[in-house]
């Protein structure tokens, strides 16, 4: 691999013209968030490294995985790779699960360069900043939280790595959102039944694929680290044991916060500006006590700006959701060609498939709405023909405009599960689903009238290449 941790990835981004370094002094608010917003607003926006934050000793990095160019580079693909090609590249690597290499010598693990066990003060180590005005405080929005199943503490498969929003509630106290359906909530429930603390390690400033997999829904007993190896095309990630537990932490991460979840205790957390582009309110949420910090020299605090989509989170919960849903569907419906679940965690999902018999598009949509992501997060499913690229919205709109009869091709199912943060749902967690069949009818269904589709002129593909070459000169 061209990079094995965040620092090397920053260099790789720089080499590929995708990193901007700000050396002028900036304020924690509103400058860091404003730069976060600006970076994703730019076409193929860059990652940004901010070296001088007023009052803080260490730098901040933002928008590391945002934009399709950065996303492609994260998989070591050329930065111009189309979304469709990135989708198929990721799909091809998905099976190459590779367990991480466990380092034994701390000298080989940069995350152990400094070890703090006394007078913990998070503000000393990271440039905490407010992301959205009405956030309840300073949020750590792009951490990988590592926990294990107390009933099966040796299992590395059940070891979970997830990104959850974390509010700083004291020098050594954190609030964390563990929703019921998150894997960390399974670990917590078992521990709370027994009134036991859950050891946790929170990795910050990670290899981009660690952050990426921490945001991906995979099966409970699958290891996110093994998937990092898969997405690196079979190259294992380096990990090392945490100081206070048997948790495995990424060896090259900028900082690791170690501690435990306080059992049977909740405190006010929130609001926080969330990925649908709206605030989610204050609630009584889980708390974590930080007891040890290990960090690299001059640690970079990597954080996530969340705003009205698209922001970096839309890439972090993007193609991984598409690929996971695609694979789930493809196993039973080989006619599925590609799945685009890029919009607000798959709230809108577009599927291209070759209808096998009349009405088949509905069957495909039903399956999407039963998928791990789709059953809650998907609200609208659009099904298009197999020759349509679901990532090409001009083509999808052409299908909606010309293949879809509203009176016959739209179905609404009320009272289904929904995404709790959807501001348009009447009851949080309950939603209607809409299926739009924008495919060409196949027997026994038929088109209302005969159609004769246009065919591009002979030789156009060759001319495409020729013109592109001429344009480059």
């Amino acid at each position: 691999m061209a990079f094995k941790d965040l620092r090397e990835f920053l260099k790789y981004l720089d080499k590929n013209g995708q990193l901007v370094t700000v050396n002028d002094q900036i304020d924690p608010e509103p400058d860091i968030a404003a730069i976060g917003r600006a970076s994703v607003n730019l076409p193929e926006g860059p990652a940004v490294l901010m070296n001088k934050i007023k009052g803080y000793p260490y730098p901040v990095a933002i928008n590391i995985c945002g934009g399709w160019a950065n996303h492609a580079l994260m998989m070591e693909l050329p930065k111009e790779t189309t979304v469709r090609d990135q989708f198929f590249a990721m799909n091809e690597r998905w099976d190459k699960l590779t367990p991480p290499t466990v380092l034994t010598n701390k000298k080989d693990a940069p995350c152990k360069e400094n070890i703090i066990t006394k007078d913990i003060n998070l503000f000393d180590v990271m440039a905490l900043h407010r992301i959205n005005d009405q956030d309840g405080g300073y949020y750590i929005s792009k951490a990988a939280c590592i926990t294990r199943d107390l009933n099966d503490p040796e299992s590395t498969g059940k070891e979970n790595i997830g990104t959850y929003r974390i509010q700083v509630k004291g020098k050594d106290l954190l609030g964390i959102q563990a929703l019921g359906y998150h894997d960390i909530a399974i670990h917590l429930r078992e521990a709370e039944k027994q009134n036991k603390p859950v050891p946790i390690a929170i990795a910050l400033g990670n290899h981009p694929l660690v952050s990426y997999m921490a945001g991906t829904s995979i099966a409970y007993d699958e290891s996110e680290y093994d998937y990092v190896g898969a997405l690196q095309n079979g190259v294992p990630l380096e990990v090392i044991k945490a100081e206070e537990s048997n948790l495995r932490v990424p060896a090259g991460s900028e900082a690791i916060l170690e501690g435990y979840i306080l059992p049977r205790q909740r405190g006010v957390e929130g609001p926080f500006g969330e990925f649908p582009g709206t605030y989610s309110g204050a609630r009584l949420q889980v708390e974590i006590k930080v007891t040890t910090i290990t960090h690299r020299n001059n640690p970079i605090f990597e954080n996530l700006y969340v705003g009205i989509p698209w922001t970096e989170i839309d890439w972090l919960m993007g193609l991984n959701t598409c690929v996971a849903t695609y694979r789930e569907m493809k196993a039973q419906q080989p006619e599925v060609v590609a799945v685009n679940a890029l919009y607000t965690h798959g709230a809108v999902t577009i599927i291209s498939c070759k209808p096998r018999f009349g009405g088949y598009a509905k069957t495909v949509a039903f399956r999407a709405l039963c998928s791990v992501n789709g059953r809650t997060n998907t609200k609208i499913v659009i099904v298009v023909d197999e020759n349509i690229d679901p990532f090409n919205l001009e083509q999808v709109m052409w299908c909606l405009a010309n293949r879809m009869a509203p009176e016959n091709d739209v179905a609404i199912i009320k009272g289904a599960p929904g995404m709790p943060l959807d501001p348009s749902s009447e009851q949080a967690g309950i939603s209607a689903k809409m299926i739009i069949d924008a495919t060409t009818p196949v027997p026994p269904a038929k088109m209302p009238k005969e159609i004769n589709i246009l065919v591009p002129p002979v030789g156009y593909q060759q001319w495409e290449q020729t013109l592109a070459k001429m344009l480059k000169k």
């Binding site: 304020d27 924690p28 608010e29 007023k54 009052g55 803080y56 000793p57 003060n121 503000f123 000393d124 407010r130 005005d133 009405q134 309840g136 405080g137 300073y138 509010q167 700083v168 509630k169 004291g170 020098k171 609030g175 959102q177 563990a178 929703l179 019921g180 909530a185 917590l188 429930r189 709370e192 039944k193 027994q194 009134n195 049977r264 909740r266 405190g267 006010v268 957390e269 609001p271 204050a282 609630r283 009584l284 949420q285 889980v286």
Partner: protein, 75 residues
């Protein structure tokens, strides 16, 4: 010190800036709101804090508990 968000007298200075004491951060022990000395009045003054985002202390126990706390298992 009065918390701008929940009006409790439970706010206090949490930290000074690690470099040059360039600012201070305050924290409320009741609603865990935190803010910086450099924040505008809308985020730091109880009188001008956004009404929409104020928290009524009486409502705190009624906030949703996430995730619910399971019953203790008897051994």
């Amino acid at each position: 010190m009065i918390c701008p968000r929940c009006d409790s007298d439970t706010a206090h200075k949490l930290v000074d800036a690690p470099v040059n004491k360039a600012w201070e951060v305050f924290l409320c022990d009741t609603c865990f709101y935190s803010w910086r000395s450099t924040d505008p009045k809308e985020l730091s003054d109880p009188k001008t804090y956004s009404k929409k985002f104020k928290i009524d202390v009486a409502n705190i126990p009624k906030l949703a508990v996430i995730p619910p706390i399971p019953p203790l298992e008897k051994k």
